[in-house]
Amino acid sequence: MKFQLLAAGLFAATGASAQDAPVVTVYTYDSFVTEWGPGPAIEAAFEAECACELRFVGAGDGAALLARLRLEGERTEADVVLGLDTNLTAAAADTGLFAPHGLDPELDLPVEWEDDIFLPFDWSYFAFVHRNELNPPESFRELAESDVSVLIQDPRSSTPGLGLLLWVEAAYGDEAGAFWSALADNIVTVTAGWSEAYNLFLEGEADMVLSYTTSPAYHAIAEEDDGFAAAAFEEGHYLQIEVGGIVASTDQPELARDFLAFMLSDAAQSVIPTTNWMYPAVVPQDGLPEGFGDLIQPDRALLYPPDEAAAAREAALDEWLLALSR
């Protein structure tokens, strides 16, 4: 392992490739590629069957990923982009940089999936995570009326932050602004990204943090700590569905499609739960790992279709800014 990493570091600098096999370049978010993410296992499994070289390029988070692709335009080296969510796919499709996938797989999502450009590879619900000592509120309304403190992320810089914005919009519609005003005194602070908020929560800065229903599974499985739970809200929970798409300018359209299909294979999907800490888009043959069984199952899944999400975003952001700027 040590040697491999060292070698990777040395050879990456020269950009030389040992083989003449075709290269599939996949842009994704950083945490996918790190040694703790699904990247390494997926790379090994795909390379074992594709007679190609798979190259992951980490480019920040989901929003940064799209910005990066737009900066590069049609000259991009990317063949596949992995890790946008449905709140970003409308903007992504509008760029014209993506090509239809032409696949029709069976999916295990809480909602119907009809999108000829993007294919999901994992999903989870947004939720407020807390320690078991807290008796959590059972709805947004109860949360706003309580004195439970929360940490949230800024919708202008983070995908979970944007998810919360649309979650509230989907649950409250015209009353969303009033809800944000009521919630303002519960919010300890608004952070730039998920990492900051979650780590502040772990250091005890607030009772709850905006994260995912699947977050407690990390603590239960990796840390053997059952002390965390996600609060189930009566209004329902907004979904985050992470998708991949084929870049239209790819010089490897076949391999790009193979890779997107491979992401839904058992080999890839069985890696997802305990590396990305999300639900797999197709439940693997062996089922979900233990620890995922104890997670809350929301009664209602909320999700704006991509074009409505894009349309709702701006007005919702203005309301959010107004309510929290007072």
């Binding site: 040694e35 602070t189 730039a192 990492s195 780590n199 990390y218 700027s325």
Partner: protein, 516 residues
Amino acid sequence: MSRTALPGVAAATLVAALVAATLVAVALRAEAAAQFGPADWAAIRFTVLQAVLSAVLSVGLAIPVARALARRRFPGRRLLITLLGAPFVLPVIVAILGLLAVFGQNGLVNAALAGIGLPGIRIYGLTGVVLAHVFFNLPLAVRLILQGWVGIPAERFRLAASLGFGPSDVARLLERPMLREVVPGALLVVFLLCTTSFAVALTLGGGPRATTIELAIYQAFRFDFDLGRAALLGLAQVALTATAALVALRSAVPAAFGAGLGAPVARWDARTPLLRVQDTILVALAAAFLLTPLLLVVTRGAAGIVTLPASVWLAAGRSVAVALGSTALMLILALSIAAATLRLGRTPARLIEASGYLAVAVSPMVLGTGLFLLLFPVAGPADLALPVTMLVNAVMSLPFALRALVPALAEIERSYGRLASSLDMHGQARLRHLWLPRLRRPLGFAAGLAAALSMGDLGVVALFADPEHATLPLKLYDLMGAYRSDAAAAAAVLLLALSLGAFWIFDRGGRIDADL
């Protein structure tokens, strides 16, 4: 223009061109013309407000602390001075976690208040932003002002003592003129650092009220992909900096103490018991404020260092390489610019010095994106990640180096310039036999700062590097993003140790025979 001014003009032009080219590159990629909305104006107002408050408080508090450190000798003083610089070189999120361990909802202060039945404090908001900025910048301000104090030759204090000066006379005739020269620059540097602040404002600001220009730029890039607005906001930030830099440089008055022989300073004026107690309390308070959060960071993470994965150590190696490269580059740029300011007239000298400050003002986001746009057609971003990071960090640490070097070099020239010229010492000879030996202190300090800063930097590298080329701060974020907060805490301790170590080695090297 004399020959010695040429490299300096070239260096200043390089910095200015880097800033201008990146702004233009971003603006040219814009799809539509942009204009400011009310939210942008609010962001500009908040940025200026918090930066002014942070600068005034940091420098205001730094003056008495620096005075106390300048006129007292005690065991461990050097170590303390080095340690006091630590907050400045920490990655923001680590420092914030340390601060929150003291002042947060769950922190020491609130625990103590609850213990005696008092209501807790809540620092989120403008208070938290300014508190964090003072925490980051007080050490820098102390060091910059301390440089001014030790720059007063020992002979002047000796003369003062023989004339029977009390503390107030020393203050009037020696210290205040020195402060008139040093304080505007210190205010400027802190102000500039706070204008590009992003994560502090966003984490401790409590909400969108605390939106800075940098966050507006971030949003323009990442969520709206409105490059025109990003460039416009970036331009506003540069204009703000240029104005502040010109005001500050114009209000600095050279103190002109004349030459000394570099003997150790003895302070007869400060020997009263009252002053002793006062200084002791000041130093103790500053140390408590700056070191307690760091101590908590260390205790939180120290145990985990041995179990850090190999990739973190590799990233640490990369960070050290970047730090050394950018330090060397910074020294070349800073010395050239400082030399040129001596040779040019007042206005061109100010102009090229001001251009040295530009880089700290330009939004890291704009700089990074602009460089990305410029370099992407030529080479893969990940391949260039480390050289680009070196260059940007070198340029980013220029202002601190200039703050330390320009006044020091001016003083050397005022005192020894004519002698050197009469001995026909020019060019290389003057550099080697006059400047470098007498500049050791500020050079060591500047090199230490540059090394430490680029060790902890998480600006441009985040745009260019992917996890395989990650530096230590980037790795730390990866760990946090992978739920691994214990490993992240350990990586933070490693980073703190490397940054402080680099700072200590350079800074110590600069005063190996000196009495600072």
